[in-house]
Protein backbone atom coordinates (compact mmCIF):
# COMPACT_ATOMS: atom_id res chain seq x y z
CA UNK A 1 0.00 0.00 0.00
CA UNK A 2 1.21 3.49 -0.75
CA UNK A 3 0.51 4.31 2.90
CA UNK A 4 2.97 1.59 3.78
CA UNK A 5 6.26 3.10 4.90
CA UNK A 6 9.36 1.24 3.77
CA UNK A 7 12.85 2.13 5.02
CA UNK A 8 15.38 1.17 2.44
CA UNK A 9 19.01 0.80 3.28
CA UNK A 10 21.65 -1.34 1.66
CA UNK A 11 21.51 -5.05 2.44
CA UNK A 12 24.14 -6.14 4.91
CA UNK A 13 24.27 -9.81 4.00
CA UNK A 14 25.38 -10.99 0.56
CA UNK A 15 22.70 -12.32 -1.81
CA UNK A 16 22.07 -16.02 -1.32
CA UNK A 17 21.05 -18.08 -4.33
CA UNK A 18 18.39 -20.74 -3.88
CA UNK A 19 17.76 -24.02 -5.61
CA UNK A 20 14.52 -22.95 -7.28
CA UNK A 21 15.94 -19.66 -8.57
CA UNK A 22 16.03 -20.84 -12.17
CA UNK A 23 12.28 -21.44 -12.25
CA UNK A 24 10.27 -19.19 -14.60
CA UNK A 25 7.69 -17.07 -12.81
CA UNK A 26 6.62 -14.51 -15.43
CA UNK A 27 5.87 -16.68 -18.44
CA UNK A 28 5.57 -13.84 -20.94
CA UNK A 29 8.84 -12.11 -20.18
CA UNK A 30 10.65 -15.24 -18.97
CA UNK A 31 11.63 -13.81 -15.62
CA UNK A 32 12.87 -16.30 -13.04
CA UNK A 33 12.33 -16.49 -9.34
CA UNK A 34 16.03 -15.81 -8.86
CA UNK A 35 15.84 -12.58 -10.85
CA UNK A 36 12.92 -11.40 -8.75
CA UNK A 37 14.73 -12.31 -5.54
CA UNK A 38 17.82 -10.46 -6.74
CA UNK A 39 15.70 -7.42 -7.64
CA UNK A 40 14.27 -7.31 -4.13
CA UNK A 41 17.80 -7.63 -2.79
CA UNK A 42 18.76 -4.71 -5.06
CA UNK A 43 16.06 -2.61 -3.40
CA UNK A 44 12.99 -3.13 -5.57
CA UNK A 45 10.38 -3.48 -2.86
CA UNK A 46 7.05 -2.93 -4.57
CA UNK A 47 5.40 -4.76 -7.44
CA UNK A 48 5.68 -1.69 -9.64
CA UNK A 49 9.39 -1.32 -8.92
CA UNK A 50 10.08 -4.98 -9.67
CA UNK A 51 7.94 -4.65 -12.79
CA UNK A 52 9.85 -1.62 -14.02
CA UNK A 53 13.20 -3.18 -13.17
CA UNK A 54 12.59 -6.65 -14.65
CA UNK A 55 9.48 -6.36 -16.86
CA UNK A 56 7.51 -8.87 -14.77
CA UNK A 57 3.90 -8.45 -15.82
CA UNK A 58 4.78 -6.16 -18.71
CA UNK A 59 4.37 -8.82 -21.35
CA UNK A 60 1.43 -9.77 -23.50
CA UNK A 61 -0.74 -11.00 -20.64
CA UNK A 62 0.01 -7.92 -18.51
CA UNK A 63 0.59 -9.87 -15.34
CA UNK A 64 -2.62 -11.87 -15.41
CA UNK A 65 -0.73 -15.11 -14.92
CA UNK A 66 2.12 -14.12 -12.64
CA UNK A 67 1.18 -11.18 -10.45
CA UNK A 68 0.17 -13.28 -7.46
CA UNK A 69 3.36 -15.30 -7.66
CA UNK A 70 5.52 -12.21 -8.00
CA UNK A 71 3.81 -10.69 -5.02
CA UNK A 72 4.38 -13.81 -2.93
CA UNK A 73 8.08 -13.84 -3.79
CA UNK A 74 8.52 -10.15 -2.94
CA UNK A 75 6.67 -10.64 0.36
CA UNK A 76 8.74 -13.69 1.20
CA UNK A 77 12.02 -11.92 0.45
CA UNK A 78 11.01 -8.92 2.52
CA UNK A 79 9.56 -11.13 5.28
CA UNK A 80 6.26 -9.23 5.29
CA UNK A 81 2.67 -10.47 4.90
CA UNK A 82 1.70 -10.63 1.24
CA UNK A 83 -1.29 -8.35 1.83
CA UNK A 84 1.12 -5.49 2.49
CA UNK A 85 2.45 -5.70 -1.06
CA UNK A 86 0.19 -3.76 -3.37
CA UNK A 87 -0.65 -5.26 -6.77
CA UNK A 88 0.74 -3.29 -9.74
CA UNK A 89 -1.37 -0.44 -11.04
CA UNK A 90 -4.21 -1.41 -13.39
CA UNK A 91 -3.86 0.16 -16.81
CA UNK A 92 -5.94 0.55 -19.93
CA UNK A 93 -6.44 -1.32 -22.14
CA UNK A 94 -7.16 -4.45 -20.15
CA UNK A 95 -6.87 -6.45 -23.38
CA UNK A 96 -4.28 -5.76 -26.08
CA UNK A 97 -5.70 -3.56 -28.84
CA UNK A 98 -4.09 -3.39 -32.31
CA UNK A 99 -3.12 0.18 -33.12
CA UNK A 100 -5.17 0.07 -36.32
CA UNK A 101 -8.30 -0.69 -34.27
CA UNK A 102 -7.50 1.83 -31.53
CA UNK A 103 -7.09 4.46 -34.24
CA UNK A 104 -10.41 3.49 -35.82
CA UNK A 105 -12.57 5.20 -33.30
CA UNK A 106 -16.06 5.97 -34.39
CA UNK A 107 -16.70 8.80 -31.96
CA UNK A 108 -14.01 10.83 -33.62
CA UNK A 109 -15.17 10.04 -37.11
CA UNK A 110 -18.68 11.28 -36.35
CA UNK A 111 -17.36 14.67 -35.27
Amino acid sequence: MKECVIRRTAAKEPFMAKLEDSMIVCRCEEITKGEIRQAVYDGMMTMNEVKRYLRTGMGLCQGQSCSRKVRDIIAEEMSVPRETIEISSARNPIRPVPMSIYANDKACKRR
Binding site: R27, C28, E30, G59, L60, C61, Q64, S65
Partner: protein, 109 residues
Amino acid sequence: MYRIENHPILHQFDKGQRVSFLLDGKEMEGFAGEPIAIALRNSGVLVHRYTAKRAEPRGIFCAIGRCNDCVMIVDGTPNVRTCVTPLQAGMNVETQYGIQSRGAAENND
Protein backbone atom coordinates in the same frame (compact mmCIF):
# COMPACT_ATOMS: atom_id res chain seq x y z
CA MET B 1 -7.09 -38.05 -33.27
CA TYR B 2 -8.13 -36.21 -30.16
CA ARG B 3 -11.64 -35.36 -31.28
CA ILE B 4 -14.50 -36.56 -29.11
CA GLU B 5 -16.77 -38.39 -31.51
CA ASN B 6 -19.49 -39.28 -29.04
CA HIS B 7 -19.86 -37.54 -25.72
CA PRO B 8 -22.12 -39.00 -23.02
CA ILE B 9 -23.66 -35.62 -22.20
CA LEU B 10 -22.97 -33.36 -25.14
CA HIS B 11 -23.25 -36.10 -27.81
CA GLN B 12 -21.95 -34.60 -31.06
CA PHE B 13 -20.13 -31.32 -31.48
CA ASP B 14 -21.40 -28.92 -34.08
CA LYS B 15 -18.45 -28.27 -36.31
CA GLY B 16 -18.05 -26.11 -39.37
CA GLN B 17 -16.73 -27.14 -42.72
CA ARG B 18 -13.55 -29.17 -42.94
CA VAL B 19 -10.86 -26.89 -44.36
CA SER B 20 -7.15 -27.04 -44.99
CA PHE B 21 -4.53 -24.56 -43.87
CA LEU B 22 -0.75 -24.32 -43.73
CA LEU B 23 1.48 -24.84 -40.73
CA ASP B 24 5.05 -23.85 -41.56
CA GLY B 25 4.28 -24.66 -45.18
CA LYS B 26 2.78 -28.08 -44.45
CA GLU B 27 -0.86 -28.72 -45.25
CA MET B 28 -3.07 -29.40 -42.22
CA GLU B 29 -6.77 -29.93 -41.69
CA GLY B 30 -9.29 -28.54 -39.26
CA PHE B 31 -12.83 -27.20 -39.06
CA ALA B 32 -13.62 -23.67 -40.14
CA GLY B 33 -14.51 -21.49 -37.20
CA GLU B 34 -12.87 -23.54 -34.48
CA PRO B 35 -9.83 -21.99 -32.81
CA ILE B 36 -6.61 -22.54 -34.74
CA ALA B 37 -5.12 -24.08 -31.59
CA ILE B 38 -7.80 -26.78 -31.51
CA ALA B 39 -7.11 -27.84 -35.08
CA LEU B 40 -3.39 -27.96 -34.30
CA ARG B 41 -3.85 -29.94 -31.10
CA ASN B 42 -5.95 -32.51 -32.90
CA SER B 43 -3.13 -33.04 -35.36
CA GLY B 44 -0.71 -33.54 -32.49
CA VAL B 45 0.92 -30.10 -32.75
CA LEU B 46 1.64 -28.84 -29.23
CA VAL B 47 4.47 -26.38 -29.79
CA HIS B 48 3.16 -23.03 -30.99
CA ARG B 49 6.21 -20.94 -30.44
CA TYR B 50 9.71 -20.77 -28.98
CA THR B 51 10.33 -17.99 -26.50
CA ALA B 52 12.54 -14.98 -27.22
CA LYS B 53 15.04 -15.31 -24.40
CA ARG B 54 15.41 -19.00 -23.70
CA ALA B 55 14.01 -20.47 -26.92
CA GLU B 56 11.72 -22.70 -24.89
CA PRO B 57 8.65 -24.35 -26.41
CA ARG B 58 5.21 -23.02 -25.48
CA GLY B 59 1.69 -23.99 -26.39
CA ILE B 60 -1.87 -23.81 -25.11
CA PHE B 61 -2.04 -22.88 -21.43
CA CYS B 62 -5.30 -21.05 -20.62
CA ALA B 63 -7.21 -21.68 -23.88
CA ILE B 64 -9.35 -18.57 -23.36
CA GLY B 65 -7.10 -15.84 -24.71
CA ARG B 66 -5.76 -14.57 -21.41
CA CYS B 67 -2.25 -15.93 -21.08
CA ASN B 68 -1.04 -15.28 -24.64
CA ASP B 69 1.22 -18.33 -24.54
CA CYS B 70 -0.27 -19.91 -27.67
CA VAL B 71 0.54 -17.01 -29.99
CA MET B 72 1.77 -17.73 -33.50
CA ILE B 73 2.29 -15.90 -36.76
CA VAL B 74 -0.97 -15.98 -38.69
CA ASP B 75 -0.97 -14.65 -42.24
CA GLY B 76 2.16 -12.70 -41.46
CA THR B 77 1.00 -11.14 -38.20
CA PRO B 78 2.91 -12.27 -35.11
CA ASN B 79 1.48 -12.63 -31.59
CA VAL B 80 -1.91 -13.92 -32.73
CA ARG B 81 -3.72 -15.80 -29.95
CA THR B 82 -4.50 -19.08 -31.66
CA CYS B 83 -6.79 -20.32 -28.90
CA VAL B 84 -9.35 -17.63 -29.66
CA THR B 85 -8.71 -16.99 -33.35
CA PRO B 86 -11.11 -18.89 -35.62
CA LEU B 87 -9.59 -21.06 -38.30
CA GLN B 88 -10.26 -20.09 -41.89
CA ALA B 89 -9.54 -22.03 -45.05
CA GLY B 90 -6.11 -21.35 -46.45
CA MET B 91 -4.68 -19.62 -43.40
CA ASN B 92 -0.91 -19.47 -43.26
CA VAL B 93 0.11 -20.34 -39.71
CA GLU B 94 3.74 -20.25 -38.69
CA THR B 95 5.55 -21.30 -35.55
CA GLN B 96 6.79 -18.15 -33.86
CA TYR B 97 10.43 -17.85 -32.83
CA GLY B 98 10.64 -14.92 -30.42
CA ILE B 99 8.40 -12.63 -32.42
CA GLN B 100 9.39 -13.79 -35.88
CA SER B 101 9.10 -16.76 -38.19
CA ARG B 102 12.00 -19.20 -38.19
CA GLY B 103 13.44 -17.80 -41.42
CA ALA B 104 13.33 -14.19 -40.24
CA ALA B 105 14.77 -15.13 -36.85
CA GLU B 106 17.70 -16.91 -38.52
CA ASN B 107 18.37 -13.92 -40.80
CA ASN B 108 18.89 -11.74 -37.74
CA ASP B 109 21.82 -13.80 -36.54
